[in-house]
């Protein structure tokens, strides 16, 4: 067959060595290579660089973790402002529309007085079990309210638990900032600006009435210590998955780091939102330092919010009031 579309030099025939005399030399060579690998893996250094082809390459998972890249996407989460507790979601239904497996269900909030729609979601249900982690919702969201989480340890024996409600989807911005700093800083300005615009159109507690946010939200970030905690901690390190085969940090250190980050973030967020009451930042740090022991319980980050909810109710109310005062003051 003539191959007119291919020049002769573009084709080569693979060498089969059919005529070679076989006396076990191929097998011996293979054994030699395997033995070399054995030696290198046993005595050499582990495979840490992408150029390495020798040495052990596996990661001892629960203790050692790869740093997840910022772009990593697992399940969607919703963001709210640390300082004011305002949710970024305005229930514009963009994500619900694009979602390929149709697992997002939003109910728009209505002003109880006028009955008119308010740019906030009354309820937001996400079926984690059917979600295919494509990340379209985060991509299309004009308000940067929905983002992709880095927590991948979601296995559970309780299937209905995977229909996740609004209160369990919410994370503070500081949490997202910790897992994806550059990606957040790219959009931060416009997101916060849009949020300010929306806040003006939200009467009463609408847009803030899901879950225990200011205090509980910080708890979310910390509650992730045993499971997702390493991710924010590692975010401080140089980026790149391979460099990340790091040893795990002591738990308190992680907790401390996160608490500081959370506090900072809260301050910054407060700065954007207006005057952040100092009294509000303090409980965050407190919660953070206290939480690791509680969060070591197998409940995981999502459940942690629910657990803390009742006892933190008063704190939440206070926070909301403080925020309101701050707003009015401005």
């Amino acid at each position: 067959m003539t191959l007119s579309h291919l020049a002769t030099e573009d084709v080569f025939v693979v060498e089969r060595n059919d005529a070679d005399f076989r006396a076990g030399q191929g097998m011996t060579k293979g054994l030699g290579i395997v033995f070399r690998k054995f030696r290198k893996a046993l005595f050499g250094k582990p495979n840490s660089d992408r150029a390495d082809t020798e040495g052990q390459f596996n990661v001892q998972y629960p203790e050692e973790r790869l740093v997840l890249p910022e772009a990593y996407r697992n399940m969607p989460i919703l963001l709210y402002d640390d300082a004011t507790g305002h949710e970024l979601c305005t229930s514009c239904f963009q994500c619900e529309r694009i979602c390929p497996p149709q697992v997002i269900h939003i109910t728009q909030a209505k002003d109880p007085a006028t009955g008119k729609p308010v740019p906030a979601a009354a309820n937001f249900v996400l079926e984690y079990d059917t979600c295919m982690s494509c990340g379209y919702c985060a991509e299309v969201c004009p308000f940067d309210a929905i983002k992709m989480d880095h927590d991948f340890e979601l296995s559970t024996g309780n299937h209905p638990e995977l229909d996740v409600n609004y209160d369990r989807l919410l994370r503070p911005i500081s949490y997202y900032e910790a897992i994806a700093p550059t990606m957040w800083s790219d959009v931060k300005e416009q997101a916060m600006k849009k949020l300010q615009n929306n806040i003006k159109r939200r009467p009463g507690a609408i847009g803030r009435d899901h879950g225990q946010k200011v205090k509980g939200g910080a708890a979310v970030a910390v509650a992730a210590t045993p499971v997702a905690g390493a991710a924010p901690a590692a975010a401080a390190k140089p980026r790149g998955p391979v460099a990340a085969i790091g040893k795990n940090m002591p738990e308190e250190k992680v907790a401390k780091l996160i608490s500081i980050r959370a506090a900072n973030a809260a301050k910054r967020g407060g700065g954007d939102a207006g005057a952040a009451p100092v009294a509000e930042a303090a409980p965050i740090v407190e919660t953070v330092v206290d939480t690791p022991a509680a969060s070591a319980a197998p409940s995981g980050p999502v459940a942690a919010i629910g657990q803390n909810m009742s006892e933190d109710k008063r704190a939440k109310l206070e926070a909301i009031r403080a925020a309101k005062r701050a707003q009015r003051g401005e």
Partner: protein, 178 residues
């Protein structure tokens, strides 16, 4: 052995095998899609639509004369509004590369009309694709050695990729009355 440009096969067939072409689309333009509104089903490409009974002959013709030896893809499309099922055969010239040559067959949707001769005896590679077209669209290929359902189970009734197949509900239980 030469590559055929788009639309060229049609003119060649008009001179070489005038009986092979499906004359129903003779009057229409080959290459100019009409303006169509949203949601309308369309039948755009009228290049080399051949009669079902002439398919094997045409396939051999383009293989032997022009070197289109690689039957790459068989696609069935259901045009519900026109009441047609189109089967598109895509051939490639393995020696010279280049784009595909599409040969189309348009047949009715009823079981009596939905028949296209099988290419499997010459192109064994068409085997599974024809079975798929049969399973999903109900196109029957006489001459196929083993025309059985391929994805759906054997007892399944109906052809799920047809446009009039109900999108919701369990069609199978409905038909069998279970």
């Amino acid at each position: 052995m030469a590559l055929l440009a788009r639309g060229e096969l049609r003119s060649i067939l008009q001179t070489e095998m005038p009986n092979a072409l499906d004359t129903r689309w003779d009057t229409q333009a080959t290459d100019q899609p009409e303006a169509h509104g949203e949601g309308q089903t369309i039948l755009l490409d009228f290049d080399a639509v051949v009669k079902a009974e002439a398919l094997v002959e045409v396939a051999h013709f383009i293989r032997d004369k022009f070197g289109y030896t690689l039957l790459s893809n068989i696609t069935a499309v259901d045009y519900l509004k026109q009441g047609l099922i189109e089967v598109v055969y895509q051939f490639y010239n393995a020696a010279e590369g280049g784009p595909d040559l599409r040969v189309r067959v348009r047949i009715g949707r009823s079981p009596e009309e939905c028949i296209v001769p099988s290419l499997t005896p010459t192109w064994p590679g068409a085997d599974l694709q024809e079975r798929e077209a049969y399973d999903m669209y109900g196109v029957v290929f006489p001459g196929h050695p083993n025309l059985a359902r391929i994805y759906m189970w054997d007892e399944f009734k109906g052809f799920p990729m047809r446009k009039d197949f109900p999108k919701t509900g369990d069609k199978y239980t409905h038909v069998t009355g279970e």
